[in-house]
């Protein structure tokens, strides 16, 4: 079996970072808009 687990780990971390990052960006943008 090929040894390529590091590629899989990189992809999983990257997807997590992109999705969590976008969720945080939406949260911060909404908070900024709601600020009086």
């Amino acid at each position: 079996m090929p040894e390529n687990g590091n590629y899989m780990i990189a992809a999983y971390i990257l997807v997590g970072v992109i999705l969590v990052g976008y969720a945080v960006s939406l949260y911060l943008r909404a908070r900024r808009s709601l600020r009086p």
């Binding site: 992809a11 969590v20 939406l26």
Partner: protein, 231 residues
Amino acid sequence: MRMLRVGRWITAIGLVLLAGVYVRALSFTPIEQSQGLAQKIFYLHVPAAIWAEMAMILVGLSSIFYLFTKDPRLDRFAASSAEVGTIFCAIVLTTGPIWGKPIWGTWWTWDARLTFTLFLFLLYVGYLLLRGAVPDPAMRARYSAVLGICGMCEVPFIHLSVYMFPTLHPMPIVLQPGRPKLPGSMLTTWLLSLGVFTLLYVGFVVQRYALSYLREQLEAVGEGGAGGGHA
């Protein structure tokens, strides 16, 4: 604002379930013998690709209806779906090369499926840039609706590119005529991941829609206040 809170909750649940998908994919799903662990990238890459394409189809459909009805809610939805689609398309274009390097031996090749997907991403970016560049709301909505419809027309080419052109990209193994060619446990993980990506799409779009609505309301209040000042 209620819609914003609902969107946040859906997103939070989606992210928690995504962690569950990670655990299931990494620990409870068998390793494919010929590709090794890199094959598990498929559980994130394919659902993201499906929603990157679906998001553009929804942008196109809402744009068509917008041109007929001029309902600002449809334009707001199209803008929200396009932004979320850009995020999913970015996932597709980054996880694909990470899988391609160990399996194909190269990060990128100008294969039909890859090139069409890159084109979709550029259409998304163009759509968002266009929305940012046109200040008049009615004109912005009309121009971006036309671009959204063009984007929707590209999606079938992405899906059918593996049949239409000689390609390195694997043929569909789930979204194809007939039964999926995946063993049961792998198919379950894939379906769970697709469900989570669906939830994340909904959560993100609801939040983004609420954000657009909020900004429009604030702008309207600001303009009203400024107008009052002049009067």
